[in-house]
Amino acid sequence: MAKPTEFRVDVEKALGKTEIRAHFRKAMDTLMINRRNQFPDDAALQALRTQAQAIRANALSKLPELLQQLETNLIKNGVQVHWAETTDEANQIVLGIMQKHNAKSIIKGKSMVSEEMGLNHFLEERGIEALESDLGEFIIQLDGETPSHIIMPAIHKSKEQISALFHEKFPDIPYTDNVDELTASARRILRDKFYAAPVGLSGVNFAVAETGTLCLVENEGNGRMSTTIPPVHIAVTGIEKVVEKLSDIPSLLSILPRSATGQPITTYFNMISGPRKPDEKDGPTEVHLVLLDNGRSRIYSDPELLATLRCIRCGACINHCPVYVRIGGHSYGTVYPGPIGTILEPQKSGLSVHGELIQASSLCGACGEVCPVRIPIPNIINRLRYDSVRKDTENTPTQEAGTRRKSLEAATWKAWSWAASTPSVYNFGSKTATQLRGLVPNNLGAWTSVRSAPKLAEQTLHQQLKTLGVDHE
């Protein structure tokens, strides 16, 4: 038997961790209930989803123009704009800005794109301290971990684990498992860091082309602190995050937090349109935006896969995924876990890297039903499954398409398709099968390890229908 892949090994391990699985179950149940409570009126929800979809689809349909408009307006507002084709280029840009200021440390608000860039690791290798300030990110960074959820990065950790971690890393602080006290300690530690930080980094939730504005959604204030206190602010974002108009923002802001955590709105919605003006008394004197492609323009070239780029990273698909809740975020081995990761990661890095994820779906459809911008995630999973075995690989931008194609499997399906579309062969075959039904073995390998073997019926469907007097013509 083939050696199990890394993904399978990780899944197997995760399934065995009953305690962590219970955390995920409880957390996801709460998130699902909270979301449902935010949308008591289904018609209103569906209308809002349609609107959010139209806003994002409109932006994508004008993407190159809007990016240029965004750039022009940002420059007019005094923001410096950088473009990066790869994560390495993006990291170099951040490094270059830091070197220019002789900065030895950077404080970060929550940003999934910076995770995508592997920025912390990159900077640390070059002797620069990169400190996370979102409470969840701060906690997992202390433990040398990566986020297990895009909205709640430390969701896999229990209160007891976090208390022990704080005690281990900050021995001077008396041990406590009181959440308020733990939070207060983190506040104190990070306040001092904010005070001294020469550079702050943030992500971007929406970038408004019309006004040259960077919008940030958050609850803690780490985004506000990172973008206000240090003298230099660097924002990093994917090129798909742009929207056309200011009037597009309220609807997106209305659906994002409700879908994500079931809050009517986040504590802070921060709209940044430039660095400190000469007569202003605070705010960074320099603001930079790094626009990252990293495979997005390739996804953009396919009319079906393009829908992936509508994503507003709410995490609702993750919260509702029966696979995610069982295997947790780390098993995916990717930056973005859950259904969005399942469709995004193989498209970004190619089917040979994370292509296996597309098999890890029951296609139950929950993700597609809750997605605030109506991304047909199950259809895209199917499409990627097709891409992985298709022959005409030149017709898809997906990298390493066709690499899962097995000649025996392909020949089998071809034969099946011929038989099924040739009535004489089909009838002969199905009749023979019913007569030989006793020969189906009880042990069918992995399938029967958790199920009983299927039994063929005594009569074919055609025969049964005839007996019932159903006219199928």
Partner: protein
């Protein structure tokens, strides 16, 4: 990295653009709530996230703010001396804790700003009833950190600037026509996090307490 820019734009423009159904895009969400209803909803939402809301009016708001300062045992209060509210408080300074004015660039008094200010008081540009939200625009008089760094934020909201939704506020106040400030901000409660085992904790990075005075 202009090469990256050219390459990215070239790839994006090479694509045949999708046709999009935009009929749903423009709908503007707003509600026909009268003033009392807007105040009721605003208050309910704010209180649900542990913000304090005090009803006052033009005649007695000063008493309300003074009482809040007293009850919270504030040693000092940071504010702008130039706003309508700041002027009135300054004229009645004896009824308030030590008044501090945001008159210098933050670099000149960062230590004090970070560690010695008990509360910041700001005006607001308006409010949103649907979500229980304050609108703040940064300005030379009322900089961004005034509502961010001190552990308590006291905000004064005029009830005739209370809109039903964010979309309505953006339109009615003509944000696009005015041009956005360096930092436009929506605040809907005190700073909070549920990152530790989904238990809500307040005052992670921003103010631990948000106090709204309605006038």
């Amino acid at each position: 990295m202009s090469k990256a820019r050219a390459n990215i734009l070239q790839r994006l423009t090479a694509v045949e653009r999708p046709v999009v159904d935009l009929s749903a895009r423009e709908s503007l969400s707003r509600f026909d709530w009268d003033k009392a209803e807007r105040i009721r909803r605003f208050t309910e939402r704010m209180q649900a996230v542990r913000a304090e809301v005090h009803q006052a009016d033009r005649a007695n708001w000063l008493d309300t703010v003074a009482t809040i300062c007293q009850q919270k045992g504030l040693n000092n209060l940071l504010l702008s001396p130039t706003t309508e509210w700041g002027q009135a408080i300054t004229q009645n300074a004896e009824r308030f804790p030590t008044l501090k004015y945001y008159e210098r660039s933050i670099e000149d008094w960062k230590q004090e700003m970070f560690y010695e200010v008990d509360a910041g008081l700001t005006s607001t540009l308006g409010g949103i009833a649907e979500t229980g939200t304050l609108i703040l625009w940064s300005s030379p008089d009322e900089p961004r950190t005034l509502s961010l760094v001190p552990p308590i934020h006291i905000a004064i909201l005029e009830t005739d600037k209370l809109y039903s939704t964010f979309a309505e506020a953006v339109q009615e106040q003509g944000w696009l026509e005015q041009g956005l400030p360096t930092n436009a901000l929506l605040i809907s409660g005190p700073s909070r996090s549920a990152d530790i085992a989904q238990v809500l904790a307040y005052g992670v990075h921003g103010p631990k307490e948000l106090v709204v005075v309605l006038v």
